[in-house]
Each structure stands twice: as structure tokens, then as C-alpha cells.
Amino acid sequence: MLFVPGNNPGMMSDAHIYGSDALMFDLEDSVTLREKDAARLLVYHALKTIHYGECERVVRVNPLSTPFGKLDIEAMVAAGAEVIRLPKTETAQDILDTEAEIERAEQKYGIPVGQTRMMAAVEGALGVVNAYKIASASPRLVAIALGAEDYCANLKTSRSLEGSELQYARGAIVVAARAAGIDCIDTVFSDVNNEEQLVKETRMIKQLGFDGKSVINPRQIKPVHRVFTPTHEEIVKAQRILAASEEAAARGSGVVALDGKMIDRPVVIRAERTLELAYASRAVFEEDEV
């Protein structure tokens, strides 16, 4: 998910070409108070005008506690944003309040109620403690994300390269997301010139269970994708597992065996996920033989 400042038309005109899976247009922290209205209009028109291809279009709105929150939500729902991202989420009530605003806007603009989905960003200690309640507050919620900068400030610490201060929050968010059955997205890595550390961090959060990572520069997309893209060996193995599983199902047998070994159900699920990732990352094409 690529962050795109909502006040930068140059970046917005072709943000989709770099191959990120989602674009997050920001009306919140990257836009100064004086430019809030201009950015809202700009993003509204960008969403209405520009064809962003296969990129999912997410907009980070200002919190409802500010004078801009309601206006942002209304404009973005009207513009057809697929996901509204709520910043600094602390409680399930924040989600419900936002949802009510979204629903109001959907009704006003003739958009099927429930079509606009939501993403919650947890950026403080309270949000992390309430992570599961937040993640399960609404069927519109598709993902929960960690915003590390505010979280660290709130925790009275600072960000380190190895990210030990984020271990608990990351773990809590992954567990909450899985318990609620939604996706979880990791925070940004801000040093765009340090690709080596970006790759290290991405490997680590993938291992923790995250579904993806936020990036602030197009140059970060490829390294992150490389970490999440299954290797050729993994793809071949996954295909063999699924073939064995299908064959067992055809025989009406619940027992899957490959190379003389029993294969457990979780292994089959993991193989399915590997292939989903492989197709999504274009590492392999469905019509190709591997």
C-alpha cells in the first residue's frame, strides 16, 4: 500500500503505475491545516477522473474529532473510494461512529449501503489494547494497520532500526486481525535509501504474520513485493500439495499424501495461500506450467 500525499497532484496523477496493490491517498498528516479543503477536493477529483487500474483506492481521512473528518468521509464516499482508513483508532466506538457517517454518505449519494469498506489504523497504546474489539467492530472492516510514529510517541519511546519497541503492538495487531478474520498491514519504513533494512524489516513482519506493508516511496514497492513473493520452489511444492489434495478429494478420501507422507489440513491451506500470493505478485501465471 503506497502512501500518496493528498495535496500533491504530480504524485496523484500516476501513483498507480508502480505496481502497489493499494494506494492510500492521505488527507491527514501529510496535509497542513491550511490545505485540508484543497486536498479533499483534489483527491475527490482524482478519484472521479483518473483510472487507477487494479490498485485498491484507500483514503486516509481526518479523525471525526476534527472539523474535517465528516466532510472528508462524505466527499470520499461520494467519489467512490473503496476503503476509508480511519486514523488514530482507539476504541470500537470510533469505528461505529465512522461507519455511521459512511452510511449516511452512501445513502445521500445513492451508493449501495455497505459497499464502502473500512480500514482502521491503530496508532496508540489504547488502540493496541483494544485491537480485537476494533478489528471485530464492523463487517465493513477489511484490515487493521499499525501506525508506528504516533504509537512510539505515545509509548514514550522512539523508533529503532530493529523495531524492538514495536514487537508487542505488531504481535497484538496480527493476533487481533486473525481473530477477527481480517487483514493486517504493517507500518512504513521511513528511510527510503536503506533498502537493506527495509527488506530485513519486511521479512520480519511477514514472519510475524502480516499480510502487507505500507510504503512511502515507489522505490520501496519492489523490495517489499520480493519478500512477499513465493520462490519458484515454494510455488512448485504448493502446486504439488494442491494436486495431491484434489486427487484425494476426487477419491473421496480425507487423507492427503505426498511422496509417501501424510499432509495435514493446515499445510494444504498454506499451499493455497502461497499460490494466491504467487498469482497476485505475477510470479507465476495461472495458464503457465511451472
Binding site: S13, D14, I17, H51, F285
Partner: protein, 512 residues
């Protein structure tokens, strides 16, 4: 045989004179002084530029030429034309291989009638803007590097006096863009474009700030071609002639284009062990070299040679053994110049060897792949590298049409949009390279293949590289930028853009 009656009657039958010591006054007397003394006494060094001009016999209305290897650091053109103006010359035809920002002072000499015609490959900065606004009575004639070499060879451009700056020169005129004889004050690497002028000009004056011992080998220009040598304080500003290694772009657009271009090359059918290539020096085309390097290592593919303006990136491939030879008509950065100086597999070539359109053996015709930048591309694949989106001259034809016509696969790269202007559109301002010689367009928002090359499109699609019709790319740009307003062109022809053979591709009108 003794010189008797029989000897002389035999010579008479052969119609040959007998050798008599001292009789042929065209022969030099044997000089028995040591070389060091002779060198100081008999050489081609003339005490001043004015003297050299007088000796050359330059007249009003004649053609003078220059090279552009000193790029924006060049002091030669302004210095020489200032001198000619002081000496009272008028109505001169200026035929440099190219012009740049630093040549703005020529505006005054055009106004004063010192310069009446200009024939060049490119023009930039204040001079270009003034020409676009109608400064000159006669249109500027633009030629490609290969087109210029052919025009000189066929006497379409007759150079009366060539003023050629050199980073080093010995007292007899062996000149080069570097020197193995010691430290040069300013190095430019190859003198490829100047070599044609030296070969065909009636008079050749070398201007140098670095006289070195005889013989200055290797030389780019042979003493045989040089008439006079003038010592000057500076041939140019070293910091603007050469920068260190050209740096790779970190611009994400450039990187995307470069990576896509590398993928296109790999799957084009022209990526095989022993292939040949040329890449430019612009942001995206330079970065192609980096991505292609990774593909060459991964697939164990080597190039037989790389051609053209050579950059440090290409030198790296030579040094790593991924490219076997470099043919260098112009060295783009210090790494390239140093490699030319030190690596025997890095060969200096002239513009004729590089791109003469009438020679089957010209190096451009041996190219498999060339990657070329563009300012604008139209839906017929015609390319503009000369005039900006404001219609003002701001570029150079260079080797663009030469390499596109010569290479088996010509890939043009440019972003789909630059700021608020579309780069892919229905019509380009000025056609510099005709679309029938361009095979593939790579933009940051998609790849288009010339319908003349369906087999290339097929290979790319087979490799899962999405090919988009060029009209669709133009529409995609227009959806965001809108249709630009027509430019305020006047009726005066200020530029003539010729193809390699001198035929006219397009006319440039004045901007009001």
C-alpha cells in the same frame, strides 16, 4: 649502375629524372640538430589565433566548423567568433557538430552580421530561444551526426576552416581529447565528431591549452590533417566539460521505464550471447544499462560491443567482461574518458565510422538494440528530440535517427506525461526520427510496439509483458492532461530538420 650514357637514355625512356642532391626544392634539407632543438624551431605552432586565421586564408562568406566535445564547458566557439568579429569578418556560415547553453554570446554576432548561417545538430539555451523567436534571416539547418558526416564527405557542407579544440596536442598536430603524456588540464575523451572536420576541412587549426611532447599517441586527430596550432589559456571549463561518473537516477519514473526497457530487450529476440547495443545518457536510458547488466549476469549473456556516447555505466560492463569492446564517438563522463585513455578494448571512432548513412559497414548498422530518449512521440512512432512542448528549440538531433535506422531494434523511452504535458500524442511538434524506423516505445504507463513489428509484440506478450496500442497510451495521457492549446507559431521558418540523407523531415516555425 654507373651514370653513363646508357643510364641517362634508360631514364629518358622511363620519363624519370635522375636524383640530384639538393635539386628538388620541395624536399627539406637534412637537419642534423637534435630533435629537441628542431622541435622548438620547426613546428605548426602559430603565435596567435589572428595569425592562424590569416594563414588559413579565411574570407567573408566562408564556412567555419567546430566540435561539441567540450559540451557546456566550451570556450572555443565564443573565443574564435569573438576574434573573427574583431578582425572584421562578416557573413560566415557556422557549422559546428552541436551548440549548447554556453554559446548564447553568438546572438550578438548574428545581430551584427558576423554569422549569417548556422548548420548544427542541436541548439539550446538563450541562443536557441532567440533563433526560435526569429533572430536569423536564414533558418538553422539541423542534421544528425551521421547526416553531417555524409554532408561533409559529399561536400554539401564545405568546411573552409575547422577550429578544433583539443585537450592535448604535440607541436606537429597530433591531437586528442586526453593525453597519456601527462596530466591534461581538461579532458573530454573521444574527439569523434572533430575527426571528420579534420579530415575534410581545407584548413585545420587546432586550439589547445596543453602542448605535449612528440609524438602524442594515441592521437584522435593525426598531424597529417593539421595545418596550424594555437595555444590558448583554456579550451574550456573542465568542470563543465566532464563530470564524474554519470549518476544513476533515483526518479521512480525513470527506474520503472528502465526496468521495463530491460525486460523488453531480454524478451525481444535480440538478447543473445554476442549481441550489440547502444544506450543513451538520459536518466531512463542510462538506468537501462544497470538493469540489463543484472539480466546479462543472470542469463550469462555477453555483448560483443557497445556503441555510441559512452558512459561510466557502459565502462563498468566492459571492465566486468560483460561487453567485449566499446566504440566511442563521444565520451559522456570522466569514467568513459579515463577508460578510453587506459583500456585498449575501448576504441575511439569518428562520426563517419559511427553513422554515415551511405555505408553499409557503419557501426550503427551493426547494432542489435538501441535505447533512445524522446521529448515527444506521436501515434505513428515519429519522435521529437529537438523542440520543447512550447515549440522552442531546446535539444539536439544527435545520433537519434542514425541509430534508429541502423539498429535491428530501436526502443524509444519517455514518460507518458511530463508535468502537465503529454509526451505521447497524436502529433509531435517536430519530426526528428521517422516512425518507420522506431520499433518499440516504453513509457512508465505501458509498452507499445510498432505494428510493423508484430513478431516483436508477440514475443513480448509471450513473456507476459503487456503491449498496449500506442493510440491507447496517447488517450490515457490526454485523459489526465487534456488537449494542449495550439502553440503560437508564426509564419517564419526558423529551422529545417533534415533526415540523414539531407532530405527534409520537418520545418520549425517561429514562436511569437
Amino acid at each position: 649502375m654507373t651514370r653513363d650514357q646508357a643510364f641517362y637514355s634508360a631514364l629518358s625512356a622511363l620519363n624519370k629524372p635522375a636524383y640530384v642532391p639538393g635539386e628538388n626544392k620541395r624536399l627539406y634539407d637534412k637537419d642534423t640538430s637534435p630533435l629537441k632543438n628542431r622541435m622548438a624551431r620547426e613546428n605548426k605552432i602559430v603565435e596567435s589565433l589572428e595569425k592562424a586565421v590569416e594563414l588559413s586564408g579565411l574570407q567573408n562568406g566562408m564556412t567555419i566548423s567546430f566540435h561539441h566535445h567540450f559540451r557546456d564547458g566550451d570556450h572555443i566557439v565564443n573565443m574564435v567568433v569573438d576574434t573573427l568579429a574583431r578582425m572584421g569578418f562578416r557573413d560566415l556560415r557556422l557549422a559546428p557538430s552541436s551548440l549548447s547553453d554556453v554559446h548564447a554570446p553568438l546572438i550578438q554576432h548574428i545581430k551584427n552580421g558576423v554569422i549569417s548561417h548556422i548548420e548544427t545538430s542541436g541548439c539550446r539555451g538563450a541562443l536557441a530561444k532567440a533563433v526560435s523567436q526569429g533572430l536569423m534571416d536564414q533558418p538553422m539547418i539541423f542534421r544528425s551526426h551521421g547526416g553531417r558526416a555524409a554532408a561533409i564527405e559529399e561536400d554539401e557542407i564545405h568546411i573552409d576552416v575547422a577550429f578544433l579544440g583539443a585537450s592535448s596536442c604535440d607541436p606537429f598536430g597530433n591531437a586528442n581529447g586526453y593525453s597519456r603524456e601527462g596530466e591534461e588540464k581538461s579532458m573530454c575523451g573521444s574527439l569523434g565528431y572533430a575527426r571528420v572536420d579534420a579530415q575534410y576541412a581545407d584548413n585545420v587549426i587546432v586550439l589547445t591549452d596543453n602542448i605535449v611532447g612528440y609524438p602524442n599517441v594515441p592521437f584522435g586527430i593525426s598531424q597529417r590533417l593539421v595545418d596550424y596550432i594555437v595555444c590558448v589559456d583554456d579550451v574550456g571549463d573542465a568542470s563543465k566539460i566532464m563530470t564524474g561518473a554519470t549518476r544513476f537516477s533515483t526518479n521512480p519514473h525513470d527506474l520503472m521505464i528502465a526496468e521495463a526497457t530491460s525486460n523488453v530487450i531480454v524478451h525481444s529476440g535480440y538478447f543473445y550471447d554476442g549481441f550489440s547495443l547502444q544506450t543513451g545518457s538520459g536518466g531512463a536510458s542510462l538506468s537501462v544499462t544497470r538493469f540489463l547488466r543484472e539480466a546479462m549476469i543472470e542469463k550469462n549473456i555477453h555483448a560483443s560491443f557497445a556503441l555510441g556516447g559512452i558512459t561510466g555505466a557502459m565502462v563498468k560492463l566492459l571492465e566486468e567482461g560483460l561487453v567485449s569492446r566499446l566504440l566511442d564517438v563521444q565520451s559522456f563522463d570522466l569514467d568513459a574518458a579515463l577508460s578510453l585513455k587506459n583500456n585498449r578494448f575501448h576504441q575511439q571512432i569518428d562520426a563517419n565510422y559511427y553513422a554515415n548513412p551511405y555505408r553499409r559497414g557503419a557501426a550503427v548498422n551493426q547494432l542489435d538494440v538501441v535505447v533512445l530518449s524522446a521529448l515527444e512521440v506521436d501515434t505513428n512512432f515519429n519522435v521529437n528530440v529537438l523542440t520543447g512542448s512550447d515549440g522552442i528549440i531546446r535539444g539536439a538531433v544527435g545520433g537519434h535517427p542514425d541509430t534508429a535506422a541502423g539498429a535491428a531494434l530501436a526502443i524509444v523511452v519517455c514518460p507518458l506525461m511530463r508535468g502537465r504535458m503529454p509526451s505521447v500524442r497524436d502529433h509531435v511538434n517536430t519530426i526528428v526520427t521517422p516512425g518507420d524506423t522506431v520499433d518499440v516505445l516504453v513509457t512508465d504507463q505501458g509498452i507499445a510496439v510498432n505494428p510493423k513489428r508484430p513478431e516483436v509484440a508477440e514475443r513480448l506478450e509471450k513473456a507476459h509483458l503487456k503491449v498496449t496500442p500506442i493510440e491507447e497510451l496517447a488517450r490515457r495521457a490526454e485523459r489526465i492532461t487534456g488537449k494542449p492549446d495550439p502553440l503560437p507559431f508564426g509564419d517564419k521558418i526558423v529551422g529545417v530538420c533534415t533526415y540523414r540523407d539531407g532530405s527534409v523531415l520537418d520545418l520549425i516555425r517561429n514562436i511569437t
